[in-house]
Subunit: 263 residues, 6 copies
C-alpha cells in the first residue's frame, strides 16, 4: 500500500503501530462555505488538510479525515448562511462530532492530538468539543492526553504579512475569501480558483454589532470580505511555509515531554 | 474553474444555478473503520463517494462532501470498536450531522436529495436523520422535498452475484472487507489495497445474538468477515456498473414527477 | 404473593434476593404498531414478553416491564407512520429509555441482562442504548456486566421455516404482520387475532431504496407485508418452541462463566 | 376480536374509527418502584391503568399502553433509588417518552387526551412533556388539541378520606405504599399484595429538606411511608369509585365543547 | 474590599480560602414571574437570595449568584406563561444550569451546598439537576459532597401561620403572590410592592386537574392566587425569622459531621 | 412602585405596556469568573448590566435579569477554569438559557432585543442561542423580531484608547481584569476593587495555540492578563460614556424602521 500520512488510507495494523509509536494525530476541521465568486467552497477544509499533511510528513504524524462541515457561518466572518451553497452544522452537532472523534482517538491510545482549524466559526465549538471530551474521559483519567488546538492563520509570521501587504493589512478579521486564503489555494489547488471571476466590491465595513432577523447589508455581494487583488501562488507558499514551520516547532515543543515509543 | 460534480469544488454562484436547475444532490455517508489487514480504513467513504460521482455525471447532479465518520462500528457488521483505528460517532451525533446537512440543502432550495450509504451501521441513524429533518421542516411545509436513502450494495444485480460467486455466496451480511468491497476498491483505488497482506481466517460464524461487556470471539482476527480471495478490479467494475445503472434508473423514476427548471 | 417471573409483580425484597442469586434479567422491547387489519397493534410487545416469560421460568430469570413503544416505524419493515394508530418514539428517546433501565439494573447489581426485541426498527437504537449504558458506567468499571441483545425471529430453526413454508419462504424481511407473527399470536393471544378480517393484498414488492417526503405505494393497503394465509396456533407453537429452546441454550452458554450465587 | 378499551389490542382500522369519532385517549403513566415488603413494584402502573380502563368504558375512550417506568424515585415520596428493584428514568428521558406519544396521538388526529398519573415524581416531567409537545406542534397549530393531566389520588373525595381514616389522616404526602394504594391494589390485584408481609415501621417523620450525597434515614426500612394497617379491598373500591366518577365528570365537563363525531 | 457573603463580590483568593475553610455555599434559585399587579416580578429571586444572605452571615457561608430564571411557570402555581412578563426556562435548561453550577462548586472543593428555592416549579428540575450532578461526578467519587435542597416556605413555623391567618389559612398551594410572599417583600424590598395596586379577585378555586391547549379560567385575573390583604412588613419579618432560624439549625445538624477546616 | 428600567422590578401590567409601546429589551450576559486578586468575580456581569441600565434610561428600554453564569472560561481570555471560584456553564447550557429567554420575550411580543455581552467566551454560544431561537420560532414566522448582539468593549472609541494608553495599548485580547475592566469597575462599584491587592505579574505572552490536558503556564498567577496600573474611575467614565453613546446611536439606527407604538 501507498506511503501516506492519511490515517484512513492505512490498514488498521499500520494505524495501530503508528499510534503505539507516539505519532501525533492531526484532526483538520473545515467547512463548506461560500468563498467568493472566484473560489471553491471547500477552502476551509482544503487548507488545514494540506497543512496537516505537510506537518505530519515532517513529524511522523497521521492526519485523520477532515471534518468537512463547520459551525454555522456568520455574516461578519464568512458571509453568513444566506449565501447559496453554505452548508453548516449547529454548534452542538459540530462539537459532538469533534468530541466523538477525539474520544475514539483516545480509546485507541493516541495521546498527542492537534485539532487544526480552517474556519473562524469553528473556534469556540471546537474548544467546547475538547472540553467535552475531557469531561467524558474524566480529567483525572486522561492519562497524559494532550490536545492542541489552533487556527492556521495565527501561525503566519508578522514579517510575511508586511511583505504581502505593503500598502497596509486590512486585518485578519476581513481575510475571509481574500488575499491570504486565495493565495494559499492558488498554491495548493489552483484549479479551484478563477481570479478572472473575482469581483472587487470590498472591503466590508462592518458595524460593531451583529443583527439577527435582519440582513447584514455590509457584506459585499461577492462574499469576499476584503479583496482578492494581489493574491498569488507564490505568496501562498510563503504563508504555508510560515504555518508549517511554526506548527512543526510547536509540536516539538509541546509534545517533547510526552514522548512514547521511538517516534 | 474545473468541470466537477463535487458540490464543494464549485463557487457559490455555480451551486446556486445548479440547484435552481433541479440538480439532484448526493450526500455520501461513510465511515473510518477497519477493513482487514489488506485494505485502507476509508472503504465505506470511498465507495459511495465514487458511485455518487459517477451517477452525478450521468444525471446532472452534485455530490456534497462525504461524511467521513460513521455510526458506531459493531462486531457482526464491521468488526467492532475493538479494532485499532476505527473512529466512529454515537448515533445521536451521526444523525445530527446528516440532519443538519439536509436542512442546509433544503434551505438552499434543493428538493431532490439522495443519501447514499457505504456503512451498514449508518442505515438506522441515517433514517432517523431524515425523519428529524422533516420534523424540523414540518411535514406540511416540506414543499416537494424528496429524500431517497439507499445502500450501494443493495443495487447489485442478482446475476452479478452469481457470476462473482460461482461456488456460492456467503451472503451480504458477511461481506464486510470481503470480495465485494475489495473488488470495488481494486477498481477505484488500487493503491489502497494490498492483497498480499490479506489473511484467510474467515468466514465468521456468528451466533444469533450480540454480546456487550464481553468480546465477540467469532470475529476473524483479520477483520475480514468472509474472504478476500477472488477479488479483482474487473469484478469491481461489474459491481460498480450495476450500482450506477440501477441508481440512474432509480433517480429517473423517482424524480421524474418532481422536475424543476430545465435540468 | 404469586409465583411469577415478572420483575414488577414482586416486592422489593424478592427482587433483591433474585438478583443477588444471579437471576438473568430479561428486558422485552416492543412497539405499538399496525399489524394488519386482522391483528392487534401490540404484537411486537406481546411476543418478546411471552418468550421472555417462558425462558425466565426455565432459567430462573426475571422479566422487567416491557417497553411498549418502539423506535419509529418504517414503511418497508412495519408499514410506516402513516398507518393510523402506530405510536412510536424517536431513536434518541427509545435509546434513552433502554439505557436508563439498563443503568438501573446495573445499579442494583444485575450482571446478566437479555434485551429481547420484537420490533425490527428497535435493533439499531437498542444497540446504541447498550453502548450508551456502557459509556455511562465506564467500560473499565462495568464489573462483569454482560448484556445480550437479540431479535426473537433470529432464533427460529431453519427446518421450521421449511415446514411452515413448503411452497417457499418470502423471507424474514416481509414477515411483518404475516404468517410467523400471526401464528405466534394465535398461539399466545388468539383473542387478538381475527383471521376473517385479513386481506390478501401482498406480498409487497419493494424498491431497493427508501423515499421520504413521498409515500411508499408498495406497502400493501392492509399493512401485511407478505401474507397471513397458513397461519395457525400450532405453527405458532413450533416457532415459540424453537425460540425458547435456542434462547435457553444461549443463556446457558453465555452466562455459564459469569455465575453468581446458587442460581 | 375482543371488546376492549385497550388501544394496542385493537387493529389499526378500529383505532382509526375510534379516534375519528372523538374518543378520548388515556395515557397512564406509572413507575416500577418499591412499594413495601407487602406489595408488588408495579402499583404506580396498575392503578392508573385500571382507572383509565374503567373510565374509558364509561366515556367511549381508549387506553394507550401504560408507560411502565417513571421519573427518578425520591426518598420522601417513594423511598428513593436505594431500594432494590426500583427502575426509573431521568427526567429528560421520561419527558421525551410522554412527548413522543402525545405527538403520535396528535398526528393521528386525537384531540382529547388524558395523561393519568400514578407516581408522584412524574408530575413535573409530565407537565414538561406536554409543554414540549405543544412546543413541537406549535401553539398556533395545535388545532383544538386539549390535554388534561391529573394524579388519581387528587380525585378522592374528602368524605372518603374521613371514612377511611377515622383516627386522622397522615396526609397524602405519606401515602406511598400505604393504606390508599394498598386498598386499591387489594381491590384490583389482590394476588400482588401480601398483608402478612407488611412491617409496621412508619410513619416517616421527614425533615423539611432533602439531602443528596447522604442517606435519608427517615425513610422507614420497609419502604412504607405511613402504614398499611386498615387497608382493605372494600376501601379500595370506595377510592376507585370516587376517582372514576370524578374523572368521568371532568371529561364530560372539559371535552364537552370539543366534540367531534357522534362519540 | 467589602465585607460580603456574596460569592461573586469576592476576589478569587478570598473564595479559595473560604471554601478551604469549609464554608457552606448557598445557591438561590429563583424566577422572573408575574406576582400580581402590586408586586415586582423578581419575588422568587429576591426572597431566597435575602434568606441565603442572612443565613450565610450566621454560618460563615457564601451565596453564589442567584439563578434569576426559573422553570416554566404553571397556572395553578404561578399564574402560568400567559401572563405578560413571565420569562422562564424549559426543565432541561433549568436543570442544566443548576447541574453545571454544582459541578463547578464541586470542582473547586466545595462539599456543603444548599440549593435554596423560591419558585414552586423549580422543585422537580432542581432535584433532577442535583441527581445529574452526582451522575456526572460518579456516586462513588463524590468524596463527601452533600447537597441540601429546600423551599423557603417549608421552614415557616406552624405557629406563625396561625398568628398570620387568625381566620384560617388558605393553604400554601395558593400562596403565590399572596400574604406570605407580599409580607416578606414588604420587609425586604418595600419599594417593589404597591399594596394600593392590589386587586382583590381571589382566592382561586382550581379544578383538580390541569389543562393544556386551553386556558385556565380559574386563575384570578390579577395573578394573585389567594389574597394580599393583611400583608405587612412586620409579618414578613416573622416569616424571615422562622426560615432563617430553621435553616441555620438545619445546616448545623446536617453539616456537623462533615466539618472541614476551622469554619 | 419605583422608577426603574429593570424588567423584573416591574409588576406585570407595567411590563406589558412597555413592551406594547415598543421598548427595546436588553439582556445582559455575564459570568462569574476570576478577575485578579484585586477585583470581584462579578465584573463580567456588573459591566453589561450597568451599561444596559444607562442605555435603557436613554431609549426607554427595559433590562431583563442578567445571566450571571457564562460559558466555560478559557486560559487565554479569562484565566481558565483552574482559578478558584470561576463558575461556568457548558456551551450547550449557556446557549439554552439565552435561547429560552429570547423565546419568552418573543412570546410576549418584544421585537427589539439587545443581547449585551460582558464575557469573551460568551460570544459564540450567544450567537448560537440567537440562531436557535430563530430556528425554534421559524425564520418566516419571526414577524419583525430583530436581535442585536454586541460586546461592550467593541464600542470604545479608538481615541479613548489612545488617551488611556499613551504608552501603547496591549490589545483588547489581553484586557481581561486589566485597565479597561478595572477602570469601569472603579467608576461603577469601587467597593469591589482593591487596587492595593493588585499584583504586577503581566502581561501574558501567549503561544499561538491552546493546550488541553496540560496547564497554560503563560497565564499570570494573579489572573490579570495585562496590567492594572493606570486604572481609574475617571477613565472608567470615559469608557462608559463611549459605550453608552455608541449603543444609543446603534439602537436608534437599527430600530428606527421597526417602530411600534408611541415609544
Amino acid at each position: 500500500m501507498i506511503e501516506t500520512v492519511l490515517f484512513a488510507e492505512l490498514a488498521w495494523p499500520q494505524v495501530a503501530s503508528r499510534i503505539a509509536a507516539g505519532a501525533p494525530i492531526f484532526l483538520p476541521i473545515g467547512a463548506t462555505e461560500q468563498h467568493g465568486r472566484h473560489m471553491a467552497m471547500n477552502v476551509d477544509a482544503v487548507l488545514p488538510t494540506a497543512i496537516a499533511e505537510r506537518v505530519a510528513r515532517r513529524v511522523g504524524g497521521l492526519v485523520a479525515p477532515t471534518i468537512p462541515y463547520g459551525n454555522r457561518s456568520q455574516p461578519k466572518t464568512g458571509g453568513g448562511r444566506a449565501f447559496p451553497g453554505t452548508l453548516d452544522l449547529t454548534a452542538a452537532t459540530f462539537s459532538a462530532v469533534v468530541r466523538d472523534v477525539l474520544l475514539g482517538l483516545f480509546r485507541h491510545g493516541a495521546q498527542r492530538i492537534v485539532v487544526l482549524n480552517g474556519h473562524y466559526e469553528n473556534i469556540s465549538p471546537a474548544i467546547e468539543a475538547i472540553e467535552l471530551a475531557f469531561d467524558a474521559i474524566g480529567r483525572d483519567r486522561a492519562d497524559g492526553l494532550i490536545v492542541l488546538r489552533l487556527d492556521h492563520w495565527d501561525l503566519i509570521a508578522p514579517g510575511t504579512i508586511d511583505r504581502m501587504f505593503p500598502d497596509g493589512y486590512p486585518g485578519i478579521e476581513l481575510e475571509h475569501a481574500s488575499v491570504i486564503e486565495t493565495s494559499m489555494m492558488l498554491a495548493l489547488r489552483p484549479e479551484l480558483v478563477d481570479l478572472a471571476a473575482a469581483v472587487d466590491d470590498g472591503p466590508a465595513e462592518f458595524v460593531r454589532w451583529e443583527r439577527y432577523g435582519a440582513p447584514t447589508p455590509e457584506v459585499p455581494a461577492s462574499g469576499v470580505l476584503s479583496m482578492t487583488k494581489g493574491a498569488s501562488a507564490e505568496k501562498g507558499e510563503w504563508l504555508l511555509h510560515d504555518i508549517v514551520e511554526a506548527l512543526v516547532a510547536a509540536i516539538e515543543r509541546e509534545f517533547a515531554s510526552n514522548q512514547r515509543g521511538p517516534a
